[in-house]
Every structure is written in C-alpha cells, then in structure tokens.
Symmetry: C3
Subunit: 508 residues, 3 copies
C-alpha cells in the first residue's frame, strides 16, 4: 500500500495520538485497496474464464460436424479437471513460496490461503490461465485423438508441466522471473519479462500441441495421395467468429488483468500516474496488436488466395494477441502495431511451412500459439520501454530493457533462454507422454472411427439434429427406445402422423 | 445492508485530537464512505450484469436442448422472462421481496422503486435482484418446453416472477423475513439459527424446479417420449453446441450469482488493515463454486461412461450445472474441500433422479426439476452439514454462538432450519403454482394440440422455423406474399439459374 | 476529486504540518479514485466491446446462410480497422482539446496521453463506441455490398464522420455539448443532452445505413414483380437471440458506463447520494425501456400477424435500448417505460413505411437505430428531470430540462437542432461517398453473385458444412486439392471408404 503510517504520523505531528491516528487512516486505505484490487482481479478472472467458452466455440466451429461433441467435451473437461488438479497441487507447484527456483511447495489444496500476497482471487485467476494452456493443445490434436489420451495429457499439463513453467517466470522464487524476490539475482541481471504469458501460456500449449500432432500424424484425407494439402474445412464459420470475439473479450482479462492490482501509484501520490493508467495502456496495446494482425492477414491472404477469408482473419487476430501477451505492459502503442504486423506474417509463413512438412494441426494452434508466442517474446526484448519496465517491475534501478530502445542485449539474451528452456521442458515432458500413449495404442482412434466421426462412435451421436425426421423416426420406431443415447443405426420408419410428414417435407 | 463502513468518526476523533478533531474525523470518514459506495456499487453492478448473462445462457441451453422445430418458441420464452420480469419486478416484485420495514411474510414498500435510493437499497440492488428473479422463471420454462401454449407461459411467468418468487426471497433474504439468517437485529431467528441460503439453492433453484415439476406433471410427457410399451425414448435436442455454449455462459454468470450475493466487498472481518475481509470471502466463494461444478462434471462423466459406454458432453454439462445449483446455498460458508463433496454427491443426485423420472414417466426436457429442484435441495442439506463456524460468523455477523454445520460440530439446529426451508418452499410453490397450472390445464390453455406438437410450435405459432440453412427455402418464399408465412405455401421453383447453388450446398 | 486539502487542513488545524497532512490524505483519496474509476471504466469498455460480438451474431442470424461469412467479416473488420483508425486520428478528432467547436486536434496516435481528463482507458471506451456506429451501418447494406465498398465506408465513418459528431456533442469544446467547458456558452443556454449517444452513435449509424441502402436498392427478390414485400428471412433465429442478448449485456457498459467515473458525490460527502446511485438508476432505466419495448412489440405484432415472433421482439427490444440511450441518466424509471412503449410503435410504423416505399434494410438498422434513436432524442427533451440534469451536468444552475417536467422548451429546441444537424452532416458526407462508390461500380455486387451468395463467390465457400459428405468428397476428389479454400463446384466423387458411406446415410 502506498499509505504510510509513519509518514502520515509525522505530518499529523503534535498530538499524542498522532501515530494511532495515522495507523487508523492508513488501515482504512489498506482495506479500500483490498476491496478495489480484489474486485479488479476477480472480474478479470471471470473474463479469462470466458476465454474457455471462446476456445470451445472456436474449436467446435473449426472441426467437422462429426467431431463437434468430442472437441467440446474436451474443452469442458479442461476447465473441470483443471479446476480440481490446480486446486490440489497445480497452484502449489506454481506459486507455493518460499521455495526453490524450480518448483513451489506450499498451498496444496489452498492450505494457508489467504496469506499476504495470495488470496483466493489469485488462485481463481491463475486457474483460468492454466486451463487456457490445456485448451490450446486440444486444438492441435483435434479430430483424431482418443478421449482417454486427452484426459491423461490434460491432467499432466495443467497439474504439472504448466505450473512448473509459471513458477520459473512468474513466481517470486522463480529462477528466471523479472519480479524475483528482492535480494535474489536476476537472470542476466534482467529476468524474463513475460508479462501475461506469450511463453508461459501460449508457447507451452503450442509446443505440447506440436508434439501431439507430430506423433499422431495428420488426419485421414488431410493430404491426398499426391501429397497435396487438402483443406478439411470446419463446419461453422459462425462458431469460429463467435469464439474469436469471445477470446478477444477474455483477453482483456488476460493481459490487463495480469497486473493483479490496480490501486498503486507510480509517481507521487495524487498524480495521475499509476497502475490504473498502465492497465489501460495494456488494454490498448493488446487491442492494437490484434487489430493490426487481423488487417495484415486480410490483405495478405487476399493477395495469395483471392478471397476475403473470415476464418483466416480470425486466426490472424488471435496470433496478434498471442504475440503481444508477453510485452503488452511494457511497450508503447505504436510498437504494438509492429508486433501485430509481424505476427501475421509469422503465422502465414508457419502455416505454409506446416503444409509443406505435412504437419496437420486442425486449429493451427502450434503455429499460432507456439510461433506467434515465440515472436512475442523476441518482440518484447526489442521494444520494451525503459520507463514502463521500471514502473511495472520496480525496485531494480538500471535494469535492462528493449534492444531497439537502447536498453542493450541482456533482456534479449534472457528471452532467448526462455524460448529454449520452454521448448526443452515441454518437449522433455509432453513428448515422451504422447509417445508412450502412442506406443500403448491409447493416442489415436481407429481409421474407421475417424471416418465415421468420433461423435457417433464415442459420444453417443451427432451434435446436431436439424432435421425433424430424426427424432420422429425414433418416436415411431418400434425398436427405437431403450436408452438416452442410441446409435442412429436403427431402422428408419416413416412417421405415422400426417402433420409430421408435411413438416418434414417442407423443412428438408 | 449497503455501506456498513468501518471508518468510525467517533473512533478517529480522539486520535486526531485538536479543536476540530471531530469535524476532521467526519470529513475523513465521509470520504471513505464515498469510496465504499463507489467500490461496492461497481462490484454489485458488474455482478448483476454477469447474472443477467445467465439469461443468455438459459436461452442457448434451452434452444440446444429442444428439437429444432421448437427453438423459436423456447427462445421467445427466455427473452420474455427477462422483459416481462423487468416490468413486474419493477412494479411490485421488488416491493414484495425487500420492501421493509414490513412483516415476515411479504414486503410492502418500494413499489415502482418509490423511495429508492435509501440507505439500504439503491438502484443497483434492484437490478441485481431482478436478474435473480428472471433466473427462477427461466428454470421453469425448461421443464415444460416443447408442449406448452405460449399464453400459459406468459401467465405463469408473470405470476412466478411477480409474486411467488418475491415472497420466498422475502422470507429468507429480507431483514424482515421470518426465516432469514441475516434477520434484523432484535428479531429472533428460526431455531436460533435462521436459514443460510446464501445465493439461493432454495430461493431460486428449488422454487424454479418445483414450479417446473408441477407444470411438467400436469402436462404429461411429450408425444413419443415414452413408447407404447412404456420404454423411455430419448428426444434429443438439436444442437449440442448450443448446450455447451449455454452451459459455459451459465458458468460465467454464476460468478455473479454466488460471489455477487455478498453485494458489498469493502468490509473488514478482522481489525482494519489486515488481509481478512469480505474481499477474501468473495474470492473463496468463487473458488467453492468452481470446485463444486468441476467435481460434479467429472463425476458425471465417469458415472455416465460406466452406465452408457459413451463420453457424453450433454450429460456432463447438466452434471456441472447440478453442482452449481447445489453449492449455491452454502458457497460462502464452506471450505473448498467441502465443495468437492458437494459436487460429487450432487452428480449422483441428478443421475438418480433422472433414472427415477424415467421410471415414473416424468418428462422434463431440460431435466430442470431434477437438476434445480433435486440438486438445489441437496445443496440446502449440504450447507447444514458443512457450514464452518468462522465463515458463518463472518458472513452473518452479530449473533455470537449461532449454530453451524452438523458435521463441523455446530449441532443440528441449522439442519432443522434447512429442512423447514425445503418443506416450506415445496409447500408454498405447490400451493401456488400447482393450482395455477391445473386451472390453465382445465381451461385448455396449458398444452398445445397434438397436431401442433408434431408439427412443431415454431411452424404453427411463431411463423416459421428457426433455421433456414438451405437456400431453396428462402428462394421459394420469394414468390409468396407476406412477411411471416406458414411454409405450407406452394413451393415454386426458383426462376434464376444461380440457384443451382442449392445443388452444390446440399 | 471531492477530497479538498484546504478544507481538511483547516479541520486538522492545530499542527504546523496540517496542510501537508491534509495533502497526504487527500492524495490517497485521489489515488483510490483513479483506481476505482479506471476499474469501472475499463470493465464498461469491455462490455461495450462485447456488443461487437452481439452485432456479429445478430447480423449473421439475420442474413441468409449464403452471406453469413461476408457479414461476419465486416463485423470483425469494423473492430480491427476501427482500432487502427481511431488510434491514429479518430480519437484526436473527437476529443483532442483544447480545440474549436467543430473538430479536435490533439492526441493523434495517443500522443500526450495520459493527461488530466484523458487516460488510455478513455480511449478504449470511446473506440468501442466508434466501432458500434460502423456496425450499425453494416446491417443496412448487408447481402448485396462489395467488400471493398465496406472497407472504404467503414474507415471513413469510424475515422472521420463519427468522431466529428462526437466532438460536437461530447467534447468539452463541442459547440452543442451539454457539458461544455465552463465559460463557454451553451446552445440555447442548454446544450444537447445526448448522454450515451442515441444521436451521436445510433442516428449516425442509422442515417449512414439509410443512404447506403437507398443508393444500392433492395435485394433481389425482396419485392416481387407485383411490388409486394417478400420476407427474405435470416437463416438462424438462434443467432438473432444470441446477438440480442449479447447486445443487451453490452448495453450495460454503453449506458451506465458513459458516466466514466463512479466515485463522485452529489450531496455532502458521506451521504448515499452520488454518481454510484445515478449509475445504478441508468442501468434500471435502460432495462425498463428495453423490456417495455419488447412486450409492446410482442403484442403489437401478435395482433397484426397472428404469430408470436421472436425476431420481431428482439428488434423491438433493441429499438427500446437505442431510444433510451440518450436520456438514460436524466429520466425517472417510469419515464423509461413510456420511452420504450413509444419506440416499439416507432419501429413498427417505420417498418411499414419502409415496406411501402420499397426500402430494403435487412437488419432494419436505419429504422431501428435511426428512427428509435431520433425518438429517444425527443423523449429526453420532454422527460429529463431537473434534479438529475443538474447532478449529471453540474455547475450551470437554472439550466433547462424536460418540457413535460416543467423545464421549458429550450432543451427541446437544442435537441431538434441535434437531429437536423446529424441528419445533415451524415447525409452530406456519407451520401456522396456511397454515391461515388455506386458510380464507380464499387458498391453493389453483380446479380449473379447475389443469387449465388457472397460467401461462395467472394469468401471461398459457405459458412456451414453440416453434411459430412462435403468434406469427404473433397478429400477423395481427384480435382479437389491444391488450396485451402476451394469453390465447391468440383465434381462430387463417392467416398471410397465404407464407414463414411454409412455415416452419410445415417446423418442425412
């Protein structure tokens, strides 16, 4: 808190009780601060949670109709299983200080929460981040992965792999954190400025998806026998747009919310400079990076394909967001435009590369979150502005900042290390996991299942029943009863009632 | 109870000393009061907006859970819940619920928001409570979906939002309510405890669920729901995507529903300046809510997998919502680990009640009676078992030694009060909504004709189907007059060649 | 801020440092105020942004399936292009004071932000408003407009036409602003009370759409050869409802958020009267106007058509919101009910008029936002309550208020001027633009494209692929490869694998 009893006591001065009066007043401000900051953090957490809805809709729209139920179930379970695992041990691994630089070791099952520095709202906020990482990976392996494999990798990623990474870069004990506890030395005297997680969240999810998709191989029909890339279009562009806008909406919790507190001054008390302004600036940089990436993709793809393509624009937009996530709080708005512009080309280039290498990622998740995330980490090391870095990560005067802003190369060195370490750690943990699942026959579904669609073979039926005859047939079918979910393979009897017949005819 | 500020002028004045100490203390504490109003109103309003988003969640959940031919009908009911509820709750519902000082049964002030704002009720409180009221009506609409006349819907919805629900909320949430845990000081509590139904497992969910139960019972099952040999036949909804969309939106909105029910966040529990305050309890409430829903979802996933052999997303969504409905009563007074127990049991409650409903040939398209009624009732019992002493005293302060959860060593008085709550809600809703549905039934206003039901209400009552994915449909209509036509008009062939598109798209 | 150091210093009195102590305490309150108000404003901005999602879904559901991708792309680009243009110059034109009454001239590229009065959060909030105006217009010209025309008009509207209007009525320098800088004279000693923009946003978008739709003419088939109106129904009522509810949700940012700050007392400090209460009242009046309009439309249309129509109810609801937007903060809740009731009939009447005049607006945007918006401006001039006007626009005692509330006709005069000026300005700028696009053949698509649907001809395919055979055919097709987006005109080869055939059979 910025209200200091000892300072105020001196000013209140003459009275015998001045110290008590100062305590009283400053405690009131402390209370107000808790109320304001918790309100801010909780609503930010709710926004981040809404990204899970965005992922679900984006994934649903991007796969074929026959696999919609499967992919949505994985998204629901990301959130649900993630909730339990992150409660039991994930949060402890990530933020359970005091600990070592590698892994946290307190707060299992939220024991001893609240304590100064960690309240329940912090847990909720971090949980929403953890499930986002798992959601990214699910896109890469969509449409061909066994559901059991999904449950296993999701638990492992949310409960262990991701929390450890977030400990390294975000915990006060983390070996590479830019905001490391005072007294500890920073990596290259700088630490890694991955403010909201281009690396910690997006690269982790993207690299995990990369390994999953590599080991599984492409979907049947994704590349024809001549080796040419064949588009397997998702079944609903509307859902893609819905999901993208929801992710955009949620990103306002993801990036600006990562400040955690908003009631904090930068200059002298009473001036207009404070975290509130930095929070607003972060929302602006986030917006501009995404907008620029969307426009760049629009025209870039138009030149290449001759179409104005909305799903490509949506992916470009999300790539811009994934890239700016790392530096959103420490760069100027004009730099965010550069960030978004480059990230659009990174995504386009990586997609071409993926097609050339016969790598199939239905959601482009590895390219988008992995590739643009990595670009964002580099971008931050180039464009971080001195004043902003010192405001957001205070208490270490003279720390390095962006190379192009005159801050030297130490921040860039730290960020290159971050990329290498994340790629290495995720590959070393998720790679063997996916490989073991593959070896035990638990990873990929059978060719028959894949052609028929997982919804039919694993999830009890298709997601959509737009044609009324389906249900009417079941009604009228002599053998059509007996359970909630039936394979639709029952014989199809003609409806017996006249109005229904008319209906079918007209609607079909 | 807005703005119980912790800054006390009388405490501060002696500390400041000096001739104007009292005025200075007033000045400073007045500033804190203002800050408190600003913070708490921001908190409450955004919570209200989240709760309102649940109405969108209900609309999408309901739309996805019914057949395509009834989609317009169910969505219209959801829109009108909110719209009609807004008018009725403004004119008298809010007054019945919170219009104190009054008696224990019904409130009697604030009609048409007269005399608002006053120290305990500002406009933001009204908006928040309105969002709750329309949620109750939304629950019931699910139970009677796909076979109810629209007029019946308008009548019951107005009655429920404007009268039945407000009275229940008066009993348990108003300072004057006879069974409220936060009853006005000086009044005695039911069993010296009162009912801790923090965000409304009983007041909202049980009320909506029981109303739906009577509606669905009196209407009977949909045509084809049970075949002639009496076996249960699934009438699947038309879009699992909409079900998932609706479920996530409800989850999102529940963060306004449960944590928002504190209505103020700027309030200390310990001494001023410590980390303990309502802000922490608000966060804890969000966590318990999350964990209960997550556990219920996972339990349902594996439970149904064992039974049916499928990984079913629609069932998981319903399980999740059941967990939320259950934790709603105790979310603020139980530990996170207890929330896991709450969610686990609620999943089995829902599975069991669904089996029971199928056995009894009870047809509820959204499982609303089972989910909101059954899991809601379980949540009320759960709270009486697991409420923790410290949390109860923090959230409902000023009554030292009050009872808490039976399993936590707090005795059985809270449980007794909660059993009374269940009985009273079931009785009151049955006594009001039961006769209403029965009358509508007797006057032929409740159920649509079999022909309409087979054809789908969208066609017969709402001017057409909700979806026109195939281009030929709209092109055919080009040739016919009028904005909304029954699609029974002759189907003219499109006259222009580009319509060949149809062939490619189909 | 309401905490006054000089007042407090007198009270603290005896000590030598009393002035410093008072500064210290009041500065703390200033900080708390920044934190609270920024939290409030940013989350309001996020809500307003979610309206863009609402527009996208509403538009998507209201057009035919064959044009869904087109309309959604325009909505995404509204936000994206709007973000860039509003950052570069739109915000400067609108709020760049000190300037003249016509147009602002500071803050280009957010230079010199933050300064007292304008922080980054203000920019974000105003950007969300600007893109809403462009979103309105896109509905009027849906299903028949070239994508390039869309890009051009959208940039011009967001970057110039709209910012200038918002400068006039909302900037402290604006010639017609009700909250004009002290010392400047008000229009008719009153100024225009267009609190959240029935005129500035909704009429601007609606009138622009009116000209676009007029110049383009109706869609093919909208009026048959006998001249009768033929409904071209949208393809999904579910999306219409989804969009409407999202707009409702977002309107809670639009109207109550327009206060910008919530930490401000009206009465003496410590009383319960303050902006927080006015914010809540604004949310209530907004709700009641929409609810009344929805119910009025329900019964009004039922009497006319015999159906209970959900899309009409949704439009009625939105009309009520558009109308109350102007006066939401200065009228009583009961007056909001009148506002909504009349606006429903305004919309019904204008729709009848549009059909009679063979004016085709697929979203009814010109009627809804233009017509109901204009009614809302008049309504405010009739029902604005004295106390609320003086609380929301303080510092000018004796200013006029609603005619029916005894406040005289000067407010009404100012509001009539507002309507005329907005109609004139938008017509003088957007009319020629649309006409020039029309003359150069850039406005309307060809008849063939229109019949086939723009998604197929311009956006690479349809939005929906519910039937599995579509994708499978593409896989197996000898000529089906080669690129991401193919026209579906390739020959349709039978799937070669047995399970797929079974699937098709069962699902269709």
């Amino acid at each position: 808190m910025s209200c200091s009893s000892s300072d105020l006591a001196l000013l209140l001065g003459s009275s015998a009780n001045s110290s008590a009066a100062a305590d009283y007043i400053c405690n009131q401000f402390a209370d107000a601060g808790y109320a304001i900051d918790t309100t801010y953090l909780l609503f930010s957490a709710y926004l981040v949670f809404s990204m899970q809805l965005g992922f679900a809709m984006l994934c649903a729209g991007s796969v074929r109709a026959k696999n919609t139920m499967n992919i949505m179930l994985t998204n629901v379970l990301d959130a649900a299983a993630g909730g339990l695992f992150y409660y039991l041990f994930g949060f402890a691994f990530a933020f359970g200080g005091p600990s070592n630089g590698f892994i946290g070791k307190h707060f299992f099952g939220l024991k001893e929460v609240p304590e100064p520095g960690f309240d329940y709202s912090n847990f909720l906020y971090q949980w929403a981040f953890a499930i986002a990482a798992a959601g990214i990976t699910s896109g890469s392996i969509a449409e061909r992965t066994q559901f059991v494999a999904y449950l296993i990798y999701s638990s492992f990623l949310t409960g262990f792999v991701y929390p450890v990474v977030s400990h390294w870069f975000w915990s006060g004990d983390g070996w590479a954190a830019a905001a490391r506890n005072s007294g500890e030395s920073l990596l290259f005297k700088s630490g890694v400025i991955d403010f909201a997680g281009s690396g910690v969240v997006h690269m982790v999810g993207g690299i995990a998806g990369l390994w999953g998709a590599l080991i599984e191989g492409p979907r049947i029909g994704r590349f024809d026998h001549g080796g040419r890339s064949v588009a397997l279009r998702g079944h609903s562009a509307t859902l893609v747009v819905l999901g993208t806008f929801l992710l955009w909406f949620g990103w306002y919790g993801f990036n600006p919310g990562s400040f955690n507190v908003i009631f904090k001054t930068y200059g002298p008390s009473g001036s207009l400079h404070g975290q509130w302004s930095a929070v607003g600036r972060t929302a602006v940089t986030t917006t501009l990076a995404g907008c620029t990436a969307a426009l760049t993709t629009l025209f870039g793809k138009r030149l290449q394909t001759g179409h104005w393509n909305v799903t490509d624009v949506c992916n470009g937009l999300l790539g811009g967001f994934a890239a700016i996530t790392s530096g959103c709080s420490v760069v100027d708005p004009w730099a965010a435009i550069i960030c978004g512009f480059v990230s659009a080309w990174v995504l386009i280039g990586l997609n071409k590369l993926a097609a050339a290498l016969k790598f199939d990622d239905p959601l482009e998740a590895a390219q988008l979150h992995g590739g643009c995330g990595a670009w964002g980490i580099i971008f931050t090391a180039l464009f971080a502005r001195e004043r902003y870095v010192n405001e957001v990560y205070p208490g270490r005067p003279g720390r390095p900042y962006g190379l192009f802003m005159g801050g030297g190369g130490r921040l860039l060195a730290a960020h290159v290390v971050q990329i290498l370490v994340i790629v290495g750690w995720v590959s070393a943990t998720m790679g063997p996991l996916f490989y073991a699942l593959h070896k035990f026959g638990l990873l990929r579904i059978s060719g028959e299942d894949e052609m028929a669609g997982m919804d039919l073979t694993r999830h009890g039926g298709f997601a959509y029943v737009y044609h009324d005859d389906d249900s009417i047939t079941q009604n009228g079918s002599p053998g059509g009863g007996g359970g909630f979910m039936l394979k639709s393979s029952v014989v199809r009897v003609e409806p017996r009632t006249a109005p229904a017949a008319a209906t079918n005819h007209e609607q079909v």
